[in-house]
Structure formats: structure tokens, C-alpha cells
Symmetry: C2
Subunit: 303 residues, 2 copies
Amino acid sequence: MDTEKRREPPTPLMRDEKIIEQPVDQQTLTRRYTEESIAFIRRNKDKPFFLYLAQTFPHVPLYASDDFRGKSARGLYGDVVEELDWSVGQVLQALRDETLAERTLVVFTSDNGPWLIKNEQGGSAGQLRDGKGTTWEGGMRVPGIVWWPGRVKAGMTSHNFASQLDLLPTFVTLAGAWPAKDLLLDGDDISQMLLEDKPLPHRAFFYYAGTRLNAVRKGPWKIHFTTGSPLEKKPAQTHRTPLLFHLKRDPSERWDVAKDNPAVVADLVGEAERHRQTVVPIKLQLEEWAEAPAPVVAPLQPE
Amino acid sequence: MDTEKRREPPTPLMRDEKIIEQPVDQQTLTRRYTEESIAFIRRNKDKPFFLYLAQTFPHVPLYASDDFRGKSARGLYGDVVEELDWSVGQVLQALRDETLAERTLVVFTSDNGPWLIKNEQGGSAGQLRDGKGTTWEGGMRVPGIVWWPGRVKAGMTSHNFASQLDLLPTFVTLAGAWPAKDLLLDGDDISQMLLEDKPLPHRAFFYYAGTRLNAVRKGPWKIHFTTGSPLEKKPAQTHRTPLLFHLKRDPSERWDVAKDNPAVVADLVGEAERHRQTVVPIKLQLEEWAEAPAPVVAPLQPE
């Protein structure tokens, strides 16, 4: 912890465009985000609202408040997860207290799998292969937990696959509106799956590593054209014969069964081709930034 | 399947010392072992009995009967497991039918983890590291399911560790007897854990690879002196500094924490030393066999 702390930049905490603390005391973040969220809910309880609560942790460097540090059986990572669990409970309780629970859809999810090189301070993908930065399932599969008392059946588990690309069209639909006609969306409205446990139509999911299409999934089948990770020092490996995995039989992606399933391979290659034709390349935001005049970096001062 | 079949030796099925079918039709084995077991229970229902039902599968080569082949979502391996599940159900039902359930302790377990090189025809150790032939948890941890209506609480889970070495002293104790005084046993009577969920006394478990002590576990801690597998072509690796894992925080044995826990390392090294002093080397049965005059191998004939 201490070594990590010394190397950290003086991270600012901002409200909108304004720095309100620098360096921020990171042990307070989970609690403060939670309090801010509850205050936001109370302020907006009489009108429709959208709250995006993006917790800092369990990204490294990890911090837990005094109430949680040293309490779990899984070291600091476990302490952090227990504080996040507390936070979720507080937010749900605020919704109940304001009698908003039956009118609010809550989604709990994450942006990627565990950062394995961080060892004990990273997470675990269980039996899924590899982790963050890869297009193996351990890097791509995340929790997807949905809560809406009276609308989403408690304890239900769905084996359909969905992604965060589906959230915008789903939220818009549930709000009684529809996305603008000229907006090309990669996701679908999955509200019928959430509310009525209806199976999703067969559709393909495209696994990108940056701008490279690494893999495609359809039903239980996943084809991998390229494997490797942008976080690894060795270059990604593009397979002359793509790898094929049956994720239902083989969730750990251990057994390439491409040779035995040529028709499946052909179908997924076709999906990739059709998909590529719909993609309009854009300039990466970071490239735009790199080409802009170098910004003058002034030391940041706390207010 | 067919390739595998052609390579198989003409496996005999024996009753006691007598060959009753050769080559045996392996698709029938799970069903026939089950029927034999039920007949044995019925024949012996009026006196104490011990039934050891050692199924052939899911060892490779895999076979399932017509009723199960092609039925599961996990290919032949899944079919085999579903037939074994059926078999267990039949045996338990026979005990119920004979009103023996409340007087019979049933233990379901296995001899090792999955044989990973068999790919889809092997099993999976989930998030545990490696498999059969190694002293990583994926090779050593097996199911331990105990059934005794009215005596063992249904649905209870214990996080104590126990092993098949404990079965003999436990069975003897539950039968109201005690092991012979001059018998040096490596296991303990665990009946109080099974019947009353009492924690076991702190004790060490010793992980052998053949005659070599590879690892020692005590509580959540496991020390690995040597890693590798007799099934692998590369030689086992003995670590100058032993590896230490905390199996509760790190069930996948990913993070060696020996450096941070010198007192734990010293304690486990001491356990290994004390254990070694109690072990009396014996000649391996296979060595005795190898030194005996070569047997005359006559082709086996079915009756």
C-alpha cells in the first residue's frame, strides 16, 4: 500500500469542472459517492431521473474506509468489495425510503474482468479464461444484475447474453420513447428479456480489442480470429485458422473445436464480414488529442 | 469414439476371480454395477454391510448407455455424468425402499481431479489450479458428499478439510468399534464433523506425488516444496524457497505469499519434518511385481 501510495499522482476530486480536493483522500470515495447519489435521488424524486454511479474501486490502487479496512477474509480487495456492497444497499434503501423502488430500474455491472497482473489486488474471473485487456471471457464477461421490484422477477437468472450496448435502447424504450431514427446503435432493447424472461433473438456479439475485431459470439459459439492483449508485451496473435469454442460446454475456452465444426466457422466468419461492412471508421479521440497542439501542463492546485 | 475403441485392449469383466465377459460391452457398465449394488443391498438388508461401488466412469474411455448417450448439453462426458447421477439415485432409492436409509451412511467421492489432457473427455476443476497427477488443488480436491437421513443434516456445507484417509476410522467408529491399537492410521474419525458440524481439530494434510512429499496444508495455508506432475514429461520442480498459498483468499493458487509469511512457512516446514519422522518406507507393490519372475501372459478367453 505505502509503496503504491508514494507513486500515485496527486489525484483531484472534481465536481463538474471544478477541483474540490487535491490530492483526494481516496479512502472516502466510496462513502462520498454513495452519499452524493442518495442526495441526488432525494433532490430528483419528483421527476424522472438518470443516475450513473461509477465507483472508483475495485480499480487499483485500492482504498477502503476505516469501517471496512481489515474486515474481510480476502484482504484489501475483499474489504473494498464489502464496502461497495454496503454502498449498493444504501442506494437501494434510499429508493425504498422515497417509495421509488417500484418505479426505478437499477442495473449493476462492471466495465471488464479482473486485472490479473495486480495479483491479490486484482479480482478473479473464476473458471473463465484470462482477464482484463483480452477478448477471452475472463476479460469480457461482467456481472449483470438488474433490480426493479414488481417488474423484474427476483432471483431469476437468464442465460441470454447481453451487453452494456443494450442499455441505451432499453432505457429509452422503458421510458416510453424511442431512439432517434438516424442513430446507428450496436445494442438492442432487451426490456422483454428483463421483464418477461423472453429469449433474445439470435444475434451476434463482436469482441473488439481497440479497433481490431478479435472475436464473434453467436449462441453458444465463439470464434477467435485474434488473441492476445494490448496490455501484454508480446504482440497479438492472428490465427490462420480461427479458433472456435462452445461456451456452454467449455466456458473456460480450453478446447478449440473449429476443425469439427466447419459450418459454424463459416457462419461466424460471415457474421464478421457483414458486421465489418456496417462499421464506419472514426478517428480515435486519443489520436485527435495527440495531433492537437501540446497542452500547457500547469501544476494543479487545490482550491 | 471409434478411434479410441479400436485401440482398446480386450477388457475383461470379472466377478471375483472369474472373467464373465470379454471384451466387456462398456456401455452397459454403469447400469450393471448399479443393478449389482441394489441386489447386494437387498441380499444383505438384514445385517450390517459395506458396499464399495467404484464406477468405471468418468474415467476415459467414456461410455454411456443408449438411454443417456447424446442427451446432455456437455457431450459424452455430460452423458456419462448424468448416467452416474441416475445410478446414485437408484442406489439411494433402494435404501429407502428397504427402509435402510436412516441406518446407512452413504459417501460419494472421487479419487482425483480431472485428467486435463483428455480435453472434452476429461472434466473440469473449475477455478482450481491444474488437474489429475499434480498436487495443485485441481488435482487433489474431489467432491465429498455425505447422506444419512436423520443423522447428517441435509444441505449442510462444511469448510473443514477431510480426506478419504478419514473414512476407515470414521466408519469403524460409527459401527461402534475401534481400529486395532497397533494400526498406524493417517486419517482421523470425522464423525462429529459429519453428524454435529463440529470443527475438526487443526491438523495438517500431506500431499504426495508417489513417494515424494510435495506439499502440506494446515488451515487455509498450503506450502508447496515441489510442483509438477508425474504425468508430465518435464521433471518436477523443487523450489529452493517453498511456495506458500492462502487457499481461502486464493483458491486458484495464483499468489505465492511465502515472503510475507515467514512464520507460517516455518510452521509448515516443521509439520513436514515431524511427519517425515513418522513415515516408514515400504516397498512399492509395483516394484515387488517388477522384481518377481515375469508372468506368462496367455491370451485371455471369454467363458
